[in-house]
């Protein structure tokens, strides 16, 4: 993996060329869920539907498990993976809560309190810039 300055940002995967290349088929599967017929086919047999796309087995499993962080790690982009969430009837805030490891009410409360602070969340190396 090419070293990039933004790899230092904690809890964040920047959707760069490398991620896009890894995740192309995963994201194009997600894109297919824009059509109602495809959503129906996916819901009817998720495994069979996923086999139509030349994704890695790990990507398919992450989708089946609704492991949102794993999908992102394997090249998924949030604007694409959120289409799976929409198919499941989940809101952006619900999957944001799951990805950050808290319940939806806890997450909503954090947002009402001004959101997640950037203090302590700027840098993996612990450098505090700004």
């Amino acid at each position: 993996m090419t070293e990039r300055d933004y790899h230092d940002i904690p809890g964040t995967v920047v959707f760069d060329g490398e991620q896009s290349r890894l995740g192309y088929h995963l994201n194009m599967f997600c894109m297919s869920l824009m059509k109602a017929d495809n959503r129906t086919a996916f819901k009817a047999d998720e495994r069979a539907y996923l086999e139509r796309y030349p994704m890695t087995e790990a990507q398919r499993q992450a989708v089946l498990d609704r492991n949102w962080n794993r999908m992102i790690a394997l090249g998924g982009n949030i604007y694409f993976t959120s289409k799976i969430a929409a198919t499941d009837g989940l809101s952006f805030q619900q999957i944001a809560a799951i990805m950050s490891g808290v319940t939806q009410p806890e997450y909503a409360q954090m947002m009402l309190g001004g959101g997640r602070s950037v203090e302590g969340n700027r840098s993996r190396k612990g450098r505090q810039i700004g």
């Binding site: 933004y6 964040t12 896009s20 824009m34 962080n69 959120s82 809560a97 947002m111 950037v118």
Partner: protein, 283 residues
């Protein structure tokens, strides 16, 4: 000739559109958000622009990963609201201005901005939520809209400096259009937010407010801020703020702040809003 009189910057949070569409704008959670736009609704009703050039980003609605244009200009007669998975928003069809849009495309390309020309495109919340915030829920949008889509989903987006320079080229394009049109430029997206991963929910009010200050007072300095700073300080999706620099570049160096608003939260996002008038247009 056509002229740019003002700029509007605003977040384009999809939940704001959903709140309005589902009749929730009067709820305690949403009331302060919509209240922050009341003055702007009156302002734009008085301004009566003929055309809005609306700088926004598509969120995997019209563009997937098959083709990823850095800058795309919508030259069609009309643009339908996109189905983003919940059915299209119940908002009017967006009427374009093909004559000005094509003039802009030609002018920008010869001015060395290699625009992608788009004749068929649905427009998602990135474009329709700002219209809803400024115009409410009319039967038809009161003016023409030229969509100008910027890629900020696939890293890297264009630099802040490139966006600011595009704004200047847009101004040259508009001012060389022979018909008498009043044009307002919208820059949308932001402010701080992160939608993915363990850092989801990040908000940085200090960064956002410093951005609002500097965008107004020293846009050249703001245009030099690198992507890393936006992503680190304002969250991975906070990088959308570079689109505000397109709007700012299209205005005078000195502007009058007619309105400023900031609120946290709208769902996952900090809401920021500016109405900027060219000094020469202020009466």
């Amino acid at each position: 000739m056509a002229r740019i009189t003002a700029g509007v910057a605003t977040s384009h949070v999809p939940a704001i559109g959903a709140a309005l569409d589902n009749g929730k704008s009067g709820e305690d959670y949403w009331k302060p958000v919509f209240a922050g736009y009341e003055a702007s609704k009156l302002w734009i009703a008085e301004q009566k622009p003929d055309v809005i050039i609306l700088v926004y980003n598509d969120h995997a609605s019209a563009f997937s990963l098959e083709v990823i244009p850095t800058f795309a200009i919508g030259c069609a007669e009309r643009f339908n609201p996109a189905d983003e998975g919940w059915g299209p928003r119940p908002v009017p069809v967006v009427e374009g201005h093909p004559e000005l849009a094509w003039h802009m495309a030609e002018s920008l390309i010869l001015d060395e901005f290699d625009m992608t020309i788009v004749n068929q495109m649905d427009v998602d919340h990135g474009l329709t939520v700002p219209l809803s915030l400024l115009f409410g829920q009319p039967e038809a949008w009161p003016c023409r809209v030229i969509p100008l889509a910027v890629n900020v989903v696939q890293y890297p987006p264009p630099t802040g400096h490139r966006c600011y320079s595009l704004g200047k080229a847009i101004r040259r394009a508009v001012e060389s259009f022979p018909k008498d049109l009043k044009v307002v430029v919208f820059g949308t997206g932001g402010m701080s937010h992160q939608l993915q991963g363990p850092r989801a929910g990040l908000i940085n009010s200090a960064f956002d407010n410093a951005f609002l200050d500097q965008l107004v007072d020293d846009p050249v300095a703001q245009s030099k801020v690198p992507h890393l700073d936006y992503m680190r300080e304002a969250g991975s999706e906070g990088i959308e703020l570079v689109m505000w620099l397109v709007m700012r570049g299209a205005l005078d160096d000195k502007v009058h702040v007619a309105h400023r608003f900031y609120h946290v939260p709208a769902s996952n996002t900090a809401v920021g809003h500016l109405v900027l008038e060219n000094a020469a247009s202020t009466t």
